[in-house]
Amino acid sequence: MINAALYGSRIYLLEMVLFSTKQKRFHCLTNPWRDRLYGVALRQTNTNEVAEDWVQETLLRGWRNFDQLSEDIAVYAWLLKILNRVIADDLRKIQRRNQLAPVVTVDDHDLIKHSCSAPEPFERALQVQLNEEINTAIMNLPEEFQRIVILRDIEGLNYNELAYILDIPKGTVMSRLSRGRRLLASALIKFRNEDDSVLTKKNSGAEQS
């Protein structure tokens, strides 16, 4: 009887050791990505606390589904896929999801008429644009474009990883990214144009006085 109890406690101890190894493995694999996840989350909300909650929920769901992580999946892509679902669930709750995404073509009036839409002036405009202004422009993009632009152009993921994270075919990755970048370019051009016209008005006002 005593031996049986001893055996039970030994087995339990052994299981605890294995379990704690698993915990350590989870920590080792996920800890280096926390800040990067937070960066991605923060670019999709205005509030630090919401971004922190999303990261926390991502890690908790990650732990619950840790056994699904196989060696052929990059840990960061796996975590981003979970983060993507966490954000989508949260946004669905506050009914922001079903916005109609506008489609901007290369023939769009804003992309042609503004003085800074040609490649060289556009490059100069981008160089002087503040990071905060660019962040705001990204945040104002429709959700599906916003996410793909962040993951590709800021996080540097390839099309296969994007297709895996967002659960969409590779062709959709390409078209969404083309449209998302075009929308962002259009927003930045408008932004620059408004800025310039405010500056021109100020200057002419100063000259008149």
Binding site: N3, A4, Y7, R10, I11, L14, E15, L18, F19, K22, C28, L29, P32, R34, D35, R36, Y38, E52, V55, Q56, L59, L60, W63, D67, E71, I73, A74, V75, T105, V106, D107, L111, I112, S117, P119, F122, E123, L126, Q127, Q129, N131, I134, N135, V149, R152, D153, I154, G156, N158, Y159, K170, M174, S175, L177, S178, R179, R181, R182, L184, A185
Partner: protein, 273 residues
């Protein structure tokens, strides 16, 4: 004639709209040959699409330079606290379905309940302990628990008895070299889910592979990080192969070859490529 002209113009317009969705793929080098030639032909005659492509490339360059925010210490601690709360509430037995260690435990527990003898239980414990101790070693002998090392070893084994791939690039220099090493061929592969470059070299009578991997993959494993911090490189052996992992400026290199065929660390020269 006029009709034919109008239909050509219509076709051009349809193509013009369709190909706009491929411009990101062109900018990111993600198109196949057929798509590539289609887009290039259109770009040659369409200034609007050329401008759009240039803007897309500029946006990518600019967004690449955006700084990454960091979690505050308070937020890190909050996450740690809630994770530990969840972890401490989880019971190891929940993992039985998937984890081979746990299923092994269960089987042995069952046999214990049937045996009903104390001495048999003692032997069972001894066997379980021996198995648990030996199992990871047996697995490690075959491959490696570190995904990048396991992938590098498996790629080496894959090509060991086959014809080596034809050079995929014009590169004529491997990232690192040593006396009597001669580059044979190079090709692209995937290591730990990320693209990597393989360089096959003849080193004396042996074939040695070099894998040029990105920084993220290279420093992903804490054991490798620790070894590099302490000794400058990470060495391991598996299945009669030796492995050396060395950091380069902003990448990493894995050298894999038959046991005792790799050069001493001090003989390895880093080439700039």
């Amino acid at each position: 004639m006029k009709q034919a002209y109008e239909s050509d113009s219509e076709k051009w317009n349809v193509l013009h709209v369709q190909l706009q969705d491929m411009l990101a793929g062109y900018a990111d080098d993600e198109l196949d040959k057929e798509q590539l030639s289609l887009v290039e032909a259109h770009l040659a005659g369409c200034e609007l699409c050329r401008n759009d492509l240039a803007r897309q490339q500029l946006i990518t360059q600019r967004l690449n330079m955006m700084p990454s925010p960091r979690l505050s210490t308070d937020a890190q601690q909050d996450i740690d606290r809630s994770l530990s709360a969840v972890l401490s509430n989880s019971t190891p037995r929940k993992q039985n379905k998937i984890d081979p260690y746990y299923s092994l435990m269960n089987k042995i527990k069952l046999s214990f309940s049937l045996s009903k003898t104390i001495s048999a239980a003692g032997w069972a414990i001894a066997c379980v302990l021996a198995l648990v101790i030996m199992l990871p070693t047996a697995i490690q002998e075959k491959t490696s628990p570190i995904p990048m090392i396991a992938d590098a070893l498996s790629e080496y084994h894959k090509h060991e008895n086959n014809v080596l791939p034809v050079a995929g690039t014009d590169t004529n220099k491997a990232p690192v070299s040593w006396p009597n090493a001669r580059l044979l061929t190079t090709w692209e592969t995937t290591i730990a889910g990320e693209p990597a470059h393989v360089y096959a070299l003849r080193s004396g009578r042996n074939i040695v592979f070099q894998y040029h991997v990105n920084e993220t993959v290279f420093f992903r494993n804490p054991v490798v990080r620790k070894a590099i911090a302490e000794t400058g490189n990470y060495k391991t052996q598996a299945n009669k192969l030796d492995v050396i992992a060395m950091p380069l400026a902003d990448t990493g290199i894995l050298i894999v070859g038959p046991a005792d065929s790799l050069p001493a660390s001090e003989k390895i020269l880093i080439e700039s490529i």
